[in-house]
Structure formats: structure tokens, C-alpha cells
Symmetry: C2
Subunit: 461 residues, 2 copies
């Protein structure tokens, strides 16, 4: 399919961005049209600006010509947020990949949006610091994408997600101007908090061109604990106890009975149980031996079947191997997977798990629940055969039932993946009309012509 | 001075809010016209709504009649943010003081805006939890006011300020509608982050009617450390080291040479030194003895003159008595005090202290610097005689020099007091024109008629 861009715009962008920065060939456009949601759409062009000046000029030109613009990190998102359904241009940050500054004394780093999460972690290692967000795709995903989606990971229960770990941003709004908010400090009561507003806005308000990230001292040692429970209720009560005591777990992962059964079928050395928690403490070599008993104590209580402490690295690796084996093992159930990252208050986890069991029974589909229990952020995996129209239809019914359930439990749609288009049509159930109207007004304030990632995050009018 | 309200509006509010909710007598208006900035202005009426429905109706009526509305907590702010310079109504939350829910299992509490910070802390004590923001005025100030100003305190270096410790808000925007954002969960990638946008917006975007607050497990024990240094540079280097190691201090307070000299003149048992740090660790009785040596080690290094560890409560109280004695002791220098809460990157603290010494010398005024070093958030106290016009003028010159210095060091205007009117005219130095234009657009999005706290935070056009 040929590019549908206004010729004058195309010529202007060719001149502005040059042969290394402006692409209209079908192959490169196709490569920038999909993400891990497996949805795709062909953009009319791919722009790869070198700096914020080029980003601003690109946005201004798009605004003049009414061309939509979709920011793209590494395409590891799962919601279609980076898929250019409205055509127009996709902005790649593949040429804005510099770590501009690491300031150990100020515990922050300044990066361009195209830096890979894993590359930053590696660069921080010699300084004894790390950036907390740790999505599974950390080796491939970009910081800009992490910020756009408010990515989290298993460490977020103790260290927070992307929004909690950014101090300042430089970004080009939909007006084509560059704004600067926050900076290399950790306490700020100066003006409106645009920084946190832009995080999680999925490229609909502004394009991030520089981020000042909050860094955290790297713990010197880790130790783990596996606890098996009679049922999800007993495990959830333990989660509440674990999160209420001063030794906050660095990670606290939950697996339901289906996840345990799946692991056992796939040969993992996991005893039979109704629910499992993997708890990790971090600290230094002196303090860790003290933290672990506190966690073991909190993990105990009614319904505990067994508890294994992994005080050293290799024992810990064995415990976590089961968690890592889960996602690949899902494929043995069915080829299709709808993986939602819903959030409920921690105290409502048992009701979520029971409700999901009912949905699975009613739709005759396996549903596996595991994830970040300390945040009440659970991955609910609806497994089905996409080629079977009846199963596909039942999977959609189960998905609708899941969102109904989560909202009824006082929870919300997404903890770390975002909305994109996948959950967009549920936004008017998650928010009332005045709140959505306020979000639309904020969108209009930062992107008056609606050129930035149109049709994402907010429900269609 | 008589109330200048449109009579129809006055009658409507009388009917809506009743005799216990609508006041136009001069005495009560006067009592609601000032804050701790010592600025004051007489509002035309005081409204004391009972619930969110009354708040929304009040805003809608103000909008219809073009009457400005200023939200007020306990009036402990220091920037004039709650002073009704434009007249109109002041909203008191003195009848919205309920702690609606304490949910230990979800580590959160739901409160109305008029709850006192200290009352909430007391209610949380039996649950082993606390809400981190700890402004000096905690016994008198309200949660609503804390959120409006993004109040912090000494614990913010480890636990964050108000913005970092709120999970969800219900608020009435300038349109007269009630919005609901966030909720009882700690990870959220669902829609725009209006929650953190409202925190620190000083009542210019919305009136908070309910807040869901993040709670933290109360540490079981504390221990302290006092370190004396040759100069501010040595102390600042120690601050960077302290913030980079895994035992993050619960508090980390700095005092410059003037502060130490002041304490010594006032009889505190503090040795002579160029700078002082008070470091506090918290944790449990087992882990604390391990944390303290790590902090003592990081506090060491070049320029250290002396180091005293306070392992038990009474030794710790003695160390902190000096910090508490500082603010009262300032009065012995001069009756007038301009107390700014500037922020610089931690690594720039030595330059800030040196620059302030130059300002003090140039203007022949004592300037005392102390505060929350872990955040680079320092209180700079310019001492002067307000009745002496020449000193008053020199104090203003020193203040301008201070803001110039802070911005030149890559810092910002306020860490925990906010902007109000006191720092409003510096906002166009702290932010460039496109960023300020974006803030104005956000203001217009949430408060289209500009009735909420007009003339505050944003510079006048």
C-alpha cells in the first residue's frame, strides 16, 4: 500500500529529517506498524529524529498538515498503543539512544527515550545503583516506552513503577513546543505536576525527548521464600500481613491453583497446593538474615501448607525457576492467550481468584492467574484456541466478565500494561463521565488538534 | 467592610448551606482571611460544606455568579495560597473531618480533607501504620491542605512527600462536577494521572473532597547519628554517600555554620563546626544495630570532625533537641524572617551554602541555612528588622539573589511550601514560556472560568 501523505508534507519531512530520518518504503513502514498485542496497521511514514529540535519541527509540520503521529519505543507493548490505526507517521526513537548523564551523587540519570531499559541497568551497575522498573522485556524495551505505558514489573511492590521513578521530563506536546518539567531533585512543590501526568499517557499528550530518572541503591544481597497455601484466601491474608510489616518484600508473587497445576504438569518441582507465594527480601549480607525470619513469620498463619526458605543464590534460583517457567508453560494449554494485568485492592484478591474460577467454569476455558500480589496487580491469562470461533467468542465473554468482576471489586483495568486500544472501550466503565470529560479536556489542552496517537487510551466519542 | 457578594448568590448559598454552613459576618470572614505568610485579605463569605454534594453545588453557583472560591485547610501555609486576595468565598473543610475508612489489609486510609494530619497519625497507631508526610505543623494542619501544597517534612527523603503518598482523590473541579481518580491500589496504568496533578495545585484546579492515602508500616525503632564537618562541602559529600547506600536514612538534616553558631550562642551543647548532619535510621530492634554502622561509615570521610551515635531513645532526643531548638532560636537574631524552602540537586548543596554566605555578606544580613539534605530541600532563613526600611529592602534583594542562585544551580523554587503568591512572580524564571503555557492550558481545562483560587501559583498574565 502506497503512502497517503500530503506530498508537500512528505517533501518537507525529507528535507528536515534527511535520508536517515524519514522513511516511506513499505518494508520499514510495516516493521513499525505492530506491537506485542499482535495487532498491526501500516503507517504512511516512519520518522527517526535525531534530537528534540527535529521532534518539535516534526510535530509542528504534522499539526499544519493534519497528519497523526504515533510514538514508538521497541514495540513490546501489549495493548496496541503503538499501532498506527489512523495512519500518518510513526516516530521511532532509534536515533535518540544516549545516556546523557549518570549522576550518582544526585541519585539520578538523564537519558534519551530510545535507551533500552537493560542497557541503562548495565551502565548503572558500576555505580551501585539501579532504575526500579523491571518489565519482563527489559532487555528489549525502551525507557521512553516504559514511561509512556507506566511499565512496572515484580519489584514495583517495594520500589514503585515507572511513574514513581521519574523526576523530570522534557517533552514535545501536540502544539509542537518543547516543555520541561521536574528535574534532578526528589521533592518539588513548584507548579503543576506535568511530569507524572505525561507518564502513562501513551504518547497521547506529548513525545518524551529526555527523562531524568530516580535511581535507587542496588541491594547487595537477596534471599527468597516459597510459601504454599490451602487456598487463595489464605495466601491473600498472608500478602496483607507481608505488606504491613516493616520488612517490605522486594518481590511478592502469587500463583493460583491453575498455575501450580500447570507447573506440576510441566515437570516443575512444586508441591500440590491451592495457592503459592514467592517472597523475596533484599538488603545487605548482615541485615538479610534478619529480614527473612520476619517475612517467613508474616507468610505463616492459617492455611499455610509448607514454607521453604532459600537463603543462598542457587536455592533462590530454583524457587524462581518455577515463576519463570510459567509464561512458556501457558503455551502447552492452548495457542491463544489473553493476558490482562488487572488490579484489585490486596484484600480482594481471594474474591478475584474465586470469580475467575467461576468465569473459567462458565466458559469452559482454562484461566491461569499469577502476578504481583504486593500491588494487587495480577495477570489473568485466558487460554483458548483462536482458530475455533466458538472458543474465541467464549474467550471474549470471559474477558468482559473479568473486567466486570475487577470493577465490582473496586479495582481497575491495568496495573502496568496500559490501555491502548485493547482496554479503551472499558474506560467509560472504569471512570464516570465527569472524570472522562476532565481527561478529554487535559488531552485538548496539550494536544489541541488531536494529532498525537489519536484513538488511544480515551474511549471514542 | 461589608460583603460584596451578589445578593441573589448570597441568598442561594444561605438556602443551600444553612446557618451552620454559610457565614457573612465580618469576624468569621476575618478569621478565614490569613495564613502563616502573615498576609491577609477579607473574603466576602465563608462556606463550610458538609459533603461533596454541597461542594459541587457551591462551585456551580460561584461559576454562575462569577464569584472566586479559595479552599482553606487550617491556614498553616506560608505562601499566601489560602489568602482570598480576590475576595469571594473561602471554603472551610471544618465540617468534613471524618476518617472514612482505615484498611490495614490494603495499607490505605480514606479521609475527608478536614482531618488533621496528627489525628490521622493517632488513629493509625494501633494498626502499626503511618502516613509519611510530617510537616512541623502536623498537629494543626489538615490532610487537604497537605495535599493542596504537596507538604513534606523531614521523613520525605525516605518516604516521600504528600504527592508520593496519595493513591486516589475525589475532587470538585472548577466546572462544578465531581471527579474520581485513582483508588485503593498502588499500581495504576489506567488513564491520565489526575491524582498527582491535583496534589500541589493549591486549590487552583479542584477542591479535594476525599483522599485515599498510602500508608506505610511503622518502624519499630529509631537510632540517630550526629556528624560534624569542617565545611558544607564535606557535609554535602557525606549526604551523597548516605543517599547512595542501601540503608536509606529515614531523616537526614543539614545545618550550616550560621545555624551551628546560633545554637551555640543559645546554649545548645553543639561543638563548633562548619556544618552538621543529623542522620536517623529506622527499622526494627534487630536490624537497626546493623543499619547504624553503615550510616556512620557513609557519614565519615574527608572533613569529618566528630561523629556521635545515639543508639537509644534518650540519646537520640538530645541530638534532635538541637534541630528543634533552631526555629525558636532564629527569633533571637531578628524579628523578621523570610523562610524559603528551595531545592537544589544534592551535589550542589555546597555551592548553595557558599552563595548564601556571599548574599549575607553583600546585604549585611544574617542568613541561616538548615533542612532536609537528603532531598536537597533546604530552608534558607533571611533574618531582618521589618520596621527598618533599609533592612527590609536589603532582605528583598537577598531573596531575589537566592532565587537567582537556586535556578543557576539547576534547582527549583519550592520543595514543600508551594508557590501561592509569595513565589508566583518567580515562576516565569523557573519555567520557560511553553511550559507555563501548558500549565495555563491545564488550568483552563479544569477550571474554565478561572474561579478557583485566582491569582495563585501561575504568574499573572
Amino acid at each position: 500500500m502506497a503512502s497517503m501523505l500530503p506530498p508537500a508534507f512528505d517533501a518537507e519531512m525529507s528535507t528536515l529529517l534527511g535520508v536517515d530520518g524519514w522513511f516511506t518504503g513499505e518494508q520499514i513502514r510495516r516493521a513499525h506498524g505492530e506491537d506485542d498485542s499482535r495487532m498491526s496497521a501500516l503507517p504512511d511514514a516512519v520518522a527517526s529524529p535525531r534530537d528534540r529540535g527535529e521532534v518539535a519541527a516534526l510535530v509542528r509540520a504534522c499539526r499544519r498538515h493534519g497528519v497523526p503521529l504515533v510514538a514508538r519505543g521497541a514495540g513490546t507493548g501489549t495493548t496496541g498503543a503503538a499501532v498506527p490505526f489512523a495512519g500518518g507517521g510513526v516516530v521511532s526513537f532509534a536515533r535518540m539512544t544516549r545516556i546523557l548523564d549518570i549522576r550518582p551523587g544526585d541519585r539520578c540519570a538523564v537519558v534519551e527515550p530510545g535507551v533500552l531499559n537493560g542497557d541503562l541497568q548495565q551502565a548503572l551497575q558500576p555505580h551501585g545503583l539501579f532504575w526500579p522498573p523491571d518489565p519482563t522485556s527489559f532487555e528489549r524495551c525502551t525507557i521512553g516506552g516504559n514511561l509512556a505505558c507506566n511499565a512496572g514489573g515484580a519489584r514495583a511492590g517495594k520500589y514503585g513503577a515507572s511513574r514513581d521513578n521519574v523526576l523530570g521530563l522534557v517533552a514535545g506536546t501536540g502544539t509542537g513546543e518543547i516543555i520541561r518539567c521536574g528535574g534532578p531533585w526528589t521533592k518539588d512543590a513548584t507548579g503543576y505536576d506535568l511530569t507524572h501526568l505525561l507518564v502513562g499517557s501513551e504518547g497521547t499528550l506529548a513525545l518524551i525527548v529526555e527523562a531524568t530518572l530516580r535511581l535507587v541503591p542496588r541491594p547487595l544481597a537477596q534471599a527468597g521464600l516459597r510459601a504454599l497455601y490451602r487456598d487463595a484466601g489464605a495466601a491473600a491474608a498472608a500478602v496483607s500481613r507481608l505488606m504491613r510489616q516493616p520488612q517490605v518484600p522486594a518481590m511478592l508473587e502469587f500463583m493460583d491453583a491453575s498455575a501450580i497445576a500447570l507447573l506440576r504438569r510441566n515437570g516443575s518441582e512444586v508441591p500440590d497446593a491451592g495457592a503459592m507465594l514467592l517472597v523475596e527480601a533484599d538488603g545487605d549480607h548482615d541485615s538479610l538474615p534478619l529480614a527473612l525470619p520476619a517475612l517467613a513469620d508474616a507468610a505463616g498463619g492459617g492455611g499455610l501448607l509448607a514454607r521453604d526458605v532459600a537463603a543462598d543464590g542457587s536455592a533462590r534460583d530454583r524457587l524462581w525457576a518455577a515463576r519463570r517457567a510459567l509464561s512458556p508453560a501457558l503455551r502447552s494449554i492452548a495457542p491463544g492467550k489473553i493476558n490482562e494485568d488487572v488490579v484489585v485492592p490486596v484484600s480482594r484478591i481471594p474474591e478475584l481468584v474465586a470469580g475467575v474460577e467461576s468465569l473459567a467454569a462458565a466458559q469452559a476455558l482454562p484461566i491461569v492467574v499469577f502476578g504481583h500480589a504486593g500491588n494487587g496487580n495480577l495477570h489473568v491469562n485466558i487460554m483458548y484456541h483462536p482458530d475455533d470461533p466458538a472458543e474465541d467468542a467464549r474467550a471474549r465473554v470471559a474477558l468482559a466478565g473479568l473486567f466486570e468482576l475487577v470493577l465490582a471489586l473496586g479495582g481497575t483495568l491495568s496495573g502496568e500494561h496500559g490501555i491502548g486500544v485493547a482496554k479503551r472501550d472499558w474506560m467509560d466503565r472504569a471512570f464516570d463521565a465527569p472524570t472522562l470529560a476532565t481527561m478529554r479536556a487535559v488531552k485538548a489542552a496539550l494536544d489541541p488538534d488531536g494529532i498525537l496517537n489519536p484513538g488511544k487510551l480515551l474511549p471514542l466519542p
